[in-house]
């Protein structure tokens, strides 16, 4: 240690493209404990670049835990060892001098690696395109206060809507299941009066697309909830299950079209 900085050994996944094999590369860094994890990688990259070496590719944007862009698996845990934060909010004071840190991308068939630590999460968007909305056009809607919503329901809906779409739930799940993500969106609308007209069609469509994209099934390990930076509850999954079965039993539609 020098000037309070800590020395760390990094084992970072390097992979030049989706169709190339990857492997871990070793790096050593000295970093201030006040730096964030991504700032530590920034410093590493700046060093690499000044030596003319290729930096480690990773994604981030807002760096305040809301955009959902960043997402690394750190020592086996998505977004690192501290609960309820995104990778960008993880600070180096949570590591000790001389620690070895393994950094991997989110791993799932539905999230192929783009490069190094970047994965493609467009599968989430595809699920959204299938039904993650209330079908209203701009204009011609009732006054905002014409729809009464109990405070508790609104709060519960908000808690589900707080999902940042980072994909940590998929990364944490031993089955790479996307149920927490999908159920959060299904629940947000299922809890609100605005979502009722399409409630049962929506859940069928979103689940169908989710299944087609190669995510695994939920086996109720609840790892998703434990690793979710927003603490989205698995009760949303229960709600989605219920809505799905009700939809299947009640709906007169024989086929789900998406």
């Amino acid at each position: 240690m020098s000037d309070g900085r800590i020395n760390l050994k990094l084992k970072i996944w390097k992979q030049s493209g989706p169709n190339f094999p990857g492997s871990f590369a070793d790096f050593e860094v000295q970093v201030s404990p006040d730096a964030s994890f991504l700032e530590m990688l920034d410093e590493l990259n700046n060093d690499l670049e000044s030596k003319g070496l290729e930096p480690v590719a990773f994604e981030s944007d807002c760096r305040e835990g809301i955009c959902g862009t960043c997402g690394l698996v750190i020592n086996g845990q998505p977004h690192g060892p501290i609960p309820k934060i995104a990778t960008c909010q993880l600070h180096m004071r949570n590591f000790k001098d001389e620690d070895t840190i393994w950094v991997e991308p989110f791993r799932a068939k539905a999230f192929p690696v783009v490069k190094d630590l970047i994965v493609k999460r467009s599968a989430f968007d595809k699920i959204m395109y299938a039904g993650g909305f209330v079908s209203v056009n701009t204009g011609g809607v009732p006054d905002a206060n014409a729809i009464l919503i109990p405070k508790e329901k609104a709060a519960e809906s908000f808690d589900a809507a707080a999902c940042i779409g980072c994909g940590a739930c998929v990364a944490a799940c031993k089955n790479a299941s996307a149920m927490l993500f999908v159920s959060a969106k299904v629940s947000q609308f299922a809890l609100l009066p605005q979502g009722q007209p399409e409630r049962y069609e929506r859940v069928q469509k979103m689940v169908k697309v989710m299944d087609d994209l190669g995510f695994g099934s939920c086996t109720n390990t609840y790892a998703c909830e434990a690793e979710c930076p927003k603490g989205i509850s698995v009760r949303n999954i229960a709600r989605m299950n219920r809505d799905y079965f009700v939809a299947k039993v009640k709906s007169a539609n024989l086929e789900v079209e998406v």
């Binding site: 920034d42 807002c62 955009c67 909305f133 209203v136 009732p142 905002a144 947000q188 979502g195």
Partner: protein, 637 residues
């Protein structure tokens, strides 16, 4: 020759302008709308709402984002809320009052007609968002809840916890998703706009780089909409996201679109201070903390004691002292500047660049539980980032660049000086004048996207009848090869400095000399230094990797190259505006007690700059006339 710009403000009383204008605008038959191709760049609040609304109307829309998903745009990080003149609280709010507050809050440097329209459609935005299923905060009776925000005496701010921007963006993103699913909007992710294609003076398309493959592509359209956000990252450290940049609007500017009021930047007073060289961005702590936190510094210079060891009588609660009636809740520009003053005086936290935000008295008065209930999650965020517990130790805060009021100049129809190029949201200069009030940015982005552009773009298409130019037209080819050359050039320099190092240097120049307080001498120095740095950049930047495939260094290099030009223009603009107003404070123009001194006689205009050549701009003006709001000195004492 400098010209007087025509904003094409409709005739009539201010309350009838938009209504009349909507009636007078030409329409396109529903069946014909699908014959039109529209490009929307950016998928934040303004871009997503515009793309979705235009798709719903029947236009063929191509939307572009450099993110992996439309949901990541930085609108998502807005915390506080969104204003709407609903008067649900029966406290005397009205469209007129919101209009009035916004013009006043903007220190009388915005266009009355635009601001009035913004206030007018603010209610529709709330209706729309609620219908989309945005889970706003509610009261026990099931009605929407409101809170009050800086610069207003009524409660008109709607919110969804501290994540209003996220919820609104996800609402717009859901509307966009619906259109993508219906194939009315083609969404291009991971594609960054690098050039605007202008044929015979009219915007005809864009050139993009696929950030995954490196491919440079041409896209043509009948009209182009830019909704690409602000440029606060010119300071390197700001509350903006890492990827926020000026490239789209800057390249359009270089193709002929005028850039208005570039020096109007908002420095937000409550951000976490810089911890060291490696810092990548600054985090905003919600302004709401100032409701119960007291801002102070030591009365002694370079006081190295721990805050809890500084006795009460040696503390200077400078906001309460200087602005007794607004105190800790003084507007953003004033609070920020006061913090800078005490820091410049050597009285910042341990002589450094931070001031204390102290909850001790509030905790003693209301109890720890009450404070935890109100601010618990913010305190947690603070502790996560800094490692300090704000219940026992005052927070350390310092101002940081947050929002840019300046942007591409647009007329009342949101069209830039290039026909066919529309600019929405933070990317245009429009509605906030010299200072933006809290909870107004979300309102403006959505007003532009949901309720203004769907009308005005139709009018443009119907009256100007622009042609669709094929994407293999000579101009497209020329611009495409221009971008390819630029890319090659950036990579071939292979110099000594990394992109980040140069960006940090630029940031320091901007922060020190074109930051919270400006003067002629420092602005001139800044111009020289930026020019030198720009030269250094093009001689000595080091971009590793290749133009093919993903290359994040290359992406950043292109953006920094643009900042190095924009920074100079910001300094020019600040130099030209010999007055202090809103976020622009010129030390030469202040009252005896250090307050901003506006000069309505000589500077009641929008400065719009025309790009001539590198480092050379022509100055144009749009005079601002205040028919409805009386010009007055803002006072918060």
């Amino acid at each position: 020759m400098a010209t007087i710009l025509n904003a094409k403000i409709p005739e009539g009383n201010i309350s009838e302008k938009w209504t009349n204008h909507k009636f007078n605008m030409k329409l396109i038959n529903p069946a014909n709308k699908r014959k039109y191709q529209i490009i929307v760049v950016g998928t934040g609040l303004a871009g997503a709402s515009a793309a979705a609304s235009l798709g719903e109307l029947g236009y063929n829309v191509s939307a572009f984002t450099y993110h992996d998903s439309a949901r990541r745009a930085h609108s998502i990080a807005a915390q506080g809320g969104i204003n709407a003149a609903k008067n649900y609280q029966n406290d005397g709010d009205s469209v007129y009052r919101l209009f009035y507050d916004t013009v006043k809050g903007g220190d009388y440097r915005s266009r009355e007609a635009n601001v009035y329209r913004l206030a007018e459609v603010s209610g529709n935005i709330m209706d729309q968002c609620v219908a989309q299923g945005v889970p706003f905060a509610r009261e026990y009776g099931g009605l929407l809840d409101n809170r009050s925000f800086g610069g207003a005496q009524v409660s008109r701010t709607f919110y969804a916890k501290g994540q209003t921007g996220q919820q609104l963006l996800l609402g717009a993103y859901s509307a966009l998703s619906r259109q993508v699913g219906k194939e009315k909007v083609k969404l291009h992710t991971h594609k960054e706009m690098l050039e605007l294609v202008v044929v015979d003076g009219i915007a005809k398309g864009i050139i993009t780089r696929d950030l995954l493959t490196g491919e440079i592509e041409s896209h043509s359209a009948h009209a182009v909409i830019l909704a690409t956000g602000g440029y606060a990252n010119v300071y390197f450290l700001s509350t903006n996201a890492m990827n926020c940049n000026t490239t789209a609007i800057w390249r359009a500017h270089k193709k002929g679109a005028l850039f208005a009021n570039p020096c109007f930047t908002q420095i937000h007073p409550t951000c976490l201070p810089v911890h060291g060289e490696g810092q990548s961005k600054l985090t905003l702590m919600s302004e709401s903390l100032r409701n119960d936190g007291r801002v102070w510094v030591s009365k002694i210079k370079k006081d190295m004691r721990e805050p809890n060891d500084i006795p009460e009588e040696e503390r200077d609660y400078y906001l309460e002292r200087k602005y007794p009636s607004f105190g800790n809740l003084s507007p953003r520009d004033i609070s920020s500047r006061s913090a800078k003053e005490v820091v410049d005086d050597g009285r910042g936290v341990k002589g450094g660049e931070a001031v204390y935000l102290d909850f001790r008295d509030a905790i003693n008065r209301l109890g720890k539980n009450a404070i935890e209930e109100k601010y618990g999650n913010l305190f947690e965020i603070y502790e996560t980032i800094t490692g300090d517990n704000p219940y026992n130790m005052p927070m350390k805060i310092y101002p940081a660049p947050h929002y840019t009021m300046g942007g591409l100049w647009v007329d009342y129809n949101l069209m830039s000086t290039i026909p066919g190029l529309f600019v929405l949201g933070e990317a245009n200069f429009s509605d906030h004048g010299a200072n933006r009030l809290g909870a107004s940015a979300l309102m403006q982005g959505l007003a532009d996207g949901y309720f203004v552009i769907p009308y005005t773009i139709g009018n443009y298409l119907a009256s100007d009848k622009p042609e669709l130019i094929p994407a293999d037209h000579d101009q497209f080819k020329k611009d495409k090869s221009g971008i390819e050359d630029l890319t090659k050039k950036l990579i071939s320099i292979n110099g000594k400095h990394t992109v980040d190092e140069l960006h940090k240097k630029l940031g320091r120049i901007m922060w020190n000399k074109v930051g919270m307080a400006r003067n002629e001498k420092r602005l001139n120095e800044a111009i020289d230094e930026i020019r030198n740095l720009r030269e250094e950049f093009w001689k000595n930047v080091k971009v590793v990797g290749s133009a093919e495939g993903l290359n994040q260094t290359l992406e950043r290099a292109g953006r920094v190259a643009d900042y190095l030009e924009l920074g100079e223009l910001m300094a020019y603009d600040a130099l030209e505006r010999k007055e202090s107003c809103g976020g622009h404070f010129r030390e030469e123009y202040q009252t005896e007690d250090g307050e901003a001194l506006r000069d309505d006689q000589n500077y009641s205009y929008v400065s719009a700059w025309e790009f001539k050549e590198l480092g050379k701009w022509e100055h144009h003006k749009e005079p601002l006339e205040f028919e409805y709001v009386k010009l007055a000195t803002r006072s918060y004492k």
